[in-house]
Symmetry: C2
Subunit: 204 residues, 2 copies
């Protein structure tokens, strides 16, 4: 908090560095859904945040650094929303993960698709960077599932691929706008699907 406040300062002026960083990433999360990275100017981001270009560069020294930070923030956002409640384990935790993954995709389909398949995920780096977002998201979600069910090795690899299965079901369900009942049926199907896949004989 500033020590002297002769008149009420604009709320933004009082942000801590952490709040400022989150604000700047939040602007990027909205903007990169609409437009490819090359069309976004950092001046525009600075103007929207009500800060100078110099301050923006203090947080993100290059446009690529900003873009990468936004992509990473998008990944964290999805992951945070699908995490099961503390203390919930086993099949109940898997059901929460699937429900929340479906809800996230239904609520923000455009953001999700841009993030995973589109321009938001297509980082500015070399070809080896392509796909990193989608694959690291699957790594992280399958880890939550693995923790819930105590999976390792081949069974964790099954959970990894099953995340792709559940994502496709969620995208189909969001595209058809199935409503809550339809979504609950699809969530149940996905939980049953994982259990069935884990029952398959081990790959030799």
């Amino acid at each position: 908090m500033p020590r002297h406040s002769p008149e009420p300062p604009a709320p933004r002026a009082r942000m801590t560095p952490d709040e400022r960083r989150r604000q700047l990433l939040g602007i990027g999360l909205r903007k990169f859904v609409d437009r490819p990275v090359q069309e976004l100017s950092l001046d525009e981001v600075a103007a929207e945040a009500g800060v100078s270009r110099g301050l923006l560069f203090h947080y993100f020294p290059t446009k690529t650094a900003y873009h990468e930070a936004v992509v990473a923030a998008a990944g964290r956002r999805v992951l945070r929303t699908v995490r099961p409640d503390a203390g919930v384990t086993g099949e109940a935790a898997v059901r929460q993960i699937v429900e929340r993954y479906f809800a996230q995709i239904a609520r923000r389909r455009e953001f999700y698709v841009a993030f995973v398949y589109g321009r938001l995920g297509a980082a500015a780096g070399g070809a080896e960077a392509a796909g990193v977002t989608a694959i690291s998201l699957r790594d992280n979600i399958s880890e939550l599932v693995g923790d819930a069910l105590g999976l390792r090795g081949e069974r964790l690899a099954i959970a990894h691929a099953w995340v792709a299965y559940a994502e496709d079901r969620a995208l189909q369900s969001a595209a058809r706008a199935v409503g809550e009942a339809g979504q609950a049926g699809d969530v149940d199907h996905c939980v049953q699907a994982l259990l069935a896949l884990l029952e398959l004989p081990a790959v030799t």
Copy 2:
């Protein structure tokens, strides 16, 4: 064919329009794997093809048109390689599709990931264009599977999501470089996975 050839023309000069188009798309398929669309100049493509910029524009009037044609060609290429042999149906056809999908991803992992998740797929259009490549590829492959097994409705939706499952297994398998035996085990697992998923109770 040029009417006057005082000296032997370069082989490229004799291409039919179809061959020329394929040549130009082939150059794009290689180049867009290495670099984002905004970094590729059409002059470079024309030079590599040994044609004038004017001739290139005759085939593709804008860079966006060229980019979109390359993305569509990438999709056709993947689809062509996974198609089962004529006359093969049922589980045998599914096995061929999976084998060929795995082989395609193992042979050209970088191309595949750039195409589906990366810059090649992130078309120049609006956000609604994001994900179109990945999703239309799944549409097309699941249609092949649906034809092989006579699937419709909910069972076709299962096959659609299962394509995402098989793709993830193929990407994991290519990343681990499991070799032929490991790949055969993974292919078998994917076929069994589809059959198990199709046995699940219908979504209500």
